[in-house]
Structures are given as structure tokens and as C-alpha cells.
Amino acid sequence: MTGAPTREHFAGLRRLFRTTAVRLSAIYIAVFTVFSLALVVGVTHEAARVMDRQLAEAIDDDVETLTEDYRSGGIVRLLATLDERSRRPDAGLFHVVDPNGNPIAGNVAELPLQAVTEDDDEPHHLPYSRFEDGHETRHIALVRSFTLENGFHVLVGRDIGERERFRSVFRKAFRWIIVAMVVLAGLTWWFLARRVLKRIDQVSDASRRIVAGDLSGRLPISGSGDEFDRLAVALNDMLTKIGELMKGLKEVSDNIAHDLKTPLTRLRNRLEEALAGPEDAARYRGALEASIEESDGLIRTFDALLKIARVEAGSPTAAFEVLDLEAVAEDVAELFAPAAEEEGGSVEVVEDDRRHRIMGDRELIAQMLVNLVDNALKYGRHDDRAPDVRIWIEQTDRTASVIVYDDGPGIPVADRARVLDRFTRLEASRSTPGSGLGLALVAAIVRHHKGTIELGDADPGLRVTIRLPALEVVPDPD
């Protein structure tokens, strides 16, 4: 039931005209018309010019022949030739007058006398009348006059009606072509724009659903592989990434809730308990000292979380400088060596005769190594002594590998990926102090330096391999 156009119809139409496709089409049609017009005008003009030149050449040819005829056979021969020529199907017009201006021969009804008696160097246009089917008609001709030695004037010419007809046929055809083109283009654009609008509406609907909270929603893909599909695929990839980030964020907040709430609860309980018990200065002091320690732990966890967030946000690489990996590693080894030796272990950089350099943030790379060595010392312990920790640096092409390994118990294969996440603390390490953020920070620093981290088996022990984009290898200066 379709009655008079409703308001929706008009709204739809307005929307259609607002689309980029329709606007572009309008501009396109205007430009195309102007160019076509210019082309047709140019072509017809050029064609007319060529036809004019052909006519002029024919006239010049006539003049030459007639002049030659007169020279060899006099006026009689000339008139005979004219008579013969005027019988041909493509006959032109001719007119001969004596020195006094009296017409001798010709097929022209009326002609200004002056046009015949004055000699021309080249053909020119001239309006004239001639008898056709019993009545006189006006024509335009291309003519040239010349004077014979006996004083007779001769005018020869060709009618240019042919050319004019050609022009008008062309114009008429062109008009129809333009109209047909506009109609066809309009129809094409109408369907095109409707199709575009339909796809856009689909995308808008889908994105509204997603905005409304359905993050699992995806934009429709028609399967045609057109630009809308490409856009939808890209946007869907983005939505997937956002979904992952949201999931990560949720995990982090869950972890924070757990790992920060637990010590906060402990802190509160301790203070409450101290308050509830007997008033004893030494007991109070003990509770307060334990509380400060607990809050220091909380602050450290917060700092570590913030630091990971800052590193992961990829804050500018302004602090990047050329780093000598060996030098950074040796500093870290030197920092930890006494503590390790105290407990029967060791921390050493395996010497190499080459220097490996990267572009990096010294603080972050040092922190990365500190965390790895600290982890190795803490969790790689044997029952009776600290482990032997080694830092080995090697390079293939433009990739430097920093390998930190120990001879401790290692990490089971199943747990290796997990330990890089925030707050992961393997059951075996629950009893030792730590926030579970050390390796997460290492992973963040590695990503910040566009590197990769891999946990492997040192057989026995854990081997952490970090690969970083490196500068060219240089020989050790020592």
C-alpha cells in the first residue's frame, strides 16, 4: 500500500542526496558535460575547417582548369567545360559576365555584381539565391572570382549546405547523447548510493549494538571483498584487540583487588588486634612496625604496577641511548655477586671478546637484568646454597640475545608462559617474599624495546632468553 510520499520517503531522499556518492556524481556529471561539450565543439569546428579547405582546393582547381581552357580554346572552350561540369552530380555554382556586367552563362539566380567583377586571391563565403524545383532559395557558397584576358569575369564556387547539414546532425545527436548519459548516470548513481547507504546502515547498526555493550558483536562482512568488507575486517580486528585489552584490564583489576586487598586486610586485622589486646607499649610497637612493613610492601607493589603500566604505555623512547650490553650486565652482576657468594652461589657475565650494543634505556635494561638475576637467586636455590647464575650475551646479525640461566630447579614447561603475567606466583614460591610482578615488568621492558622473551630449560635450571634489536657488533676494545 503505497500512497502519497510520506515524510520517511523525503527523509530517505534527503539522506540519499547527502551521501558522498551523490555529491561526487553531481560534480562528475558537470565536469564530464563540460568536457564533452568542448570536445564536440572542437571536433565539429575542425571538421568544418577541413571541409572548407577541401572546397577551397576544389575551387582553386576549377579556376586553374578554366584559365587553362580559356588560354588553349578561348571563351568557347571555357563555356563548354563549364557546361560539362555543371552536369556532374557534385556540381558547384558558376557565373560568367562580360566586361559590362551582363550575364553570359551560369546557374545562379541572383548575385551581387560586385562579387563577380572583383578578383579574389582566395575563396570566401557569399550568400546567393538559386532556383530549385521552380522557386528561389537562399544559400551560402564558398566562391572565387577571376577576370579573363578579354575582360570577362568568371565566378566559381561550391555550396556549403552540406557542411551546415553535417553540423546540425552532429548537434542533434549530441543533445540526445547528453540526455541519455545524464539519465543513465543518474540511475547508476541512484542504485550505487542506495547500496552504499544500505551497507553503511548495516555498519552503523552493528556499531550501535557494540556501543550498547555487546562487545562480542562484529560488523557484517558481505564476502565480496569490496572496500566495505576491508573496512569491516579492519574494524573487527580492532574490536578483537579492544576486547583482549578489556579482558587484560579486567584481569589486572581482579589481580589488584586480590593482591592489594589481601595485605590491606592483613594490615587492618593486625591493627585491630593490637587495639583489642592489653595496653602494652612493646606490643603496640611490634604491631606498628609490622604495619609499616606491610604498607611498604603495598607501596612496592603499587610502584611496580605503575612502572609496568608506564613501560607498557610505551612512553617515548627519548631515554634511548647506545648501550653496551656487557657493561650493563657486568654492573648488575657486580651488584648481586657478593650476596650470591655469601650463600655459596655466584653471578657472573660469561666473557666474550666482542661488544654487543643496542639502542635502549639504561635504567630499564638494568632493571630487567636485576629482576632476572634476583629471580634466579631467589627461585633457583638449591636446598643448601644459592645457584650459580650466568649472563651470556651473543648476537646474530642485528639481534642480540641476552641469556640469563641458573642451575636451579627451573620452571615446569606448563607454567612458563604464565609466569610472565602480572601477579603470577607459582605455588612453590608462595612462601618467599615477592610481588609476582618481577617477570611481568621484564616482559613489559622487553616489549618496550621491541624484543622477545623466551623461557627455556638450562638443563638443569631455568634459561631466560631475551632477544633485542641490536647495532652492529664491535670488537672488544680491551
Binding site: 651488584l335 657478593p338 650476596a339 635504567e363 638494568a366 632493571q367 634476583d374
Partner: protein, 226 residues
């Protein structure tokens, strides 16, 4: 020593003023950027503790203004941000040291005292002496009661920094920053082990120890009275 605390958290500022007074200093507080800038301009303070984020005016702009007019009063910049690039910003603006919130009071006190000492005029010392312990900065030698003590390069720098701040508490983070140039906390006891090694070289077999552990704060090189 006169100390100005520019801090908008009145409770925190009052606590600092009280604790600094208990430590034997004269402390005053300003609670916003404008009054802070005004009080700094009187030039009546030995050290300024400046919070970064203040109402009315940014703390760093006050420090920049001070340096612009040639005021060299040492400034300890406080900030809740505490990341490496913030620290660099703070130092670039003209701050002399940087401390991230939350901090232990002992840490702040140690740093304020170290700043005040650094600002005291005097020629650059080439030797440090504490009791019978002598450190020569030019020849890189250390001796106690005339007897040479061989030290590793890092141990030398550790002792040099401690002796430069003799009589004052030096915290673990101060040692990490000044001796190792690490501006993060490794959260282990590694410094303690370095210190105990140094102590065994300096104080072993001596009647009067010079290298002291200050509980809950850090370390101090000091001559023990007879």
C-alpha cells in the same frame, strides 16, 4: 638548619614540620604555590622541600624561577609520580634531588641533610678523613691508622660517598642512586651485603668501628666518641 616545606596536604606538611623539629631543625610550611614562591623569595631557608603538584602554581615553575634569579638554595622535589622521566624533569627544572611519594621520613631527612651539606661553601676536598680513616680521592687509596686498605673500585666509591656525608645517615636508595646510578629499588638486600664486605675491610680488628648501621634508615660513617 631552616627548612621550608611547600606541600598542599596540610596533614603531611604538619607531620614533616613536627618530625623535622624533633630532628633538631627549624621547619616552616607553605600550603600552595603562591605562598610557597613568596616564602622562598625571602631567601631565609637552607633547604626547600617542594611538592610538584600544588594549588595555584606548579612546584617546578617555582624552582625554575629561583634558579632564574640565581638563587642556589638546594631543593628536594617531592612527587607522587616517581617515574624516571618525572625525575629527569624535576632535576632539569633545577631541583637538586628527587623523592617519590610515599617516602619514609628517614629517607627524606637523610636527603635534606645531605643537600644542606652539599650547599655549604668550601673548596673541593681531595681527601676525606674520619677518625684514623683516610681516603685520598686523587690517588684512589684508603688507609686506616697508616695502614693501606685495598678496595675494589665499587667499594671505593661506596666509602667515598659515605665519607663525603660523614656524620649523616645515608639511605640504601641514596647509595643505589649515587654509587650504582640506579634510580629504581632492586628490593633485595644486596646493598647490605656490599656494606658488610666493606665493613669487614674497614672495621675488622679495630676497637672503634666507623661504619654504622642505622636501624630502619641506612648507614653512617662516624667517629665513635671515646
Amino acid at each position: 638548619m631552616r627548612i621550608l616545606i611547600v606541600e598542599d596536604d596540610r596533614e603531611a606538611a604538619a607531620y614533616l614540620v613536627k618530625a623535622l623539629k624533633e630532628a633538631g631543625h627549624v621547619a616552616e610550611q607553605a600550603n600552595d604555590g603562591d605562598s610557597g614562591a613568596h616564602m622562598v623569595a625571602t631567601g631565609a631557608y637552607d633547604v626547600v622541600v617542594m611538592d610538584r603538584m600544588l594549588p595555584k602554581r606548579d612546584g617546578l615553575s617555582i624552582v625554575q624561577e629561583m634558579r632564574g634569579r640565581g638563587d642556589t638554595t638546594p631543593v628536594l622535589v617531592l612527587s607522587a609520580l616517581g617515574q624516571v622521566d618525572d625525575r629527569v624533569d624535576g632535576l632539569r627544572a633545577g631541583g637538586d634531588d628527587y623523592l617519590a611519594k610515599p617516602y619514609a621520613f628517614t629517607e627524606l631527612l637523610a636527603r635534606v641533610e645531605a643537600l644542606a651539606r652539599r650547599a655549604r661553601p668550601g673548596e673541593v676536598e681531595t681527601t676525606y678523613r674520619v677518625g684514623d680513616l683516610l681516603l685520598d680521592r686523587l690517588s684512589h687509596t684508603v688507609s686506616r691508622a697508616g695502614e693501606d686498605i685495598p678496595l675494589q673500585p665499587r667499594e671505593f666509591r661506596l666509602l667515598e660517598y659515605l665519607m663525603k656525608n660523614a656524620g649523616q645517615v645515608v639511605t640504601r636508595t641514596m647509595l643505589l642512586e649515587n654509587v650504582w646510578d640506579y634510580h629504581f629499588d632492586p628490593q633485595t638486600n644486596v646493598i647490605d651485603v656490599h656494606m658488610s664486605r666493606l665493613r669487614s675491610k674497614i672495621d675488622k680488628g679495630q676497637d672503634r668501628p666507623l661504619l654504622h648501621t642505622v636501624r630502619g634508615a641506612g648507614y653512617m660513617v662516624r667517629e665513635t666518641p671515646k
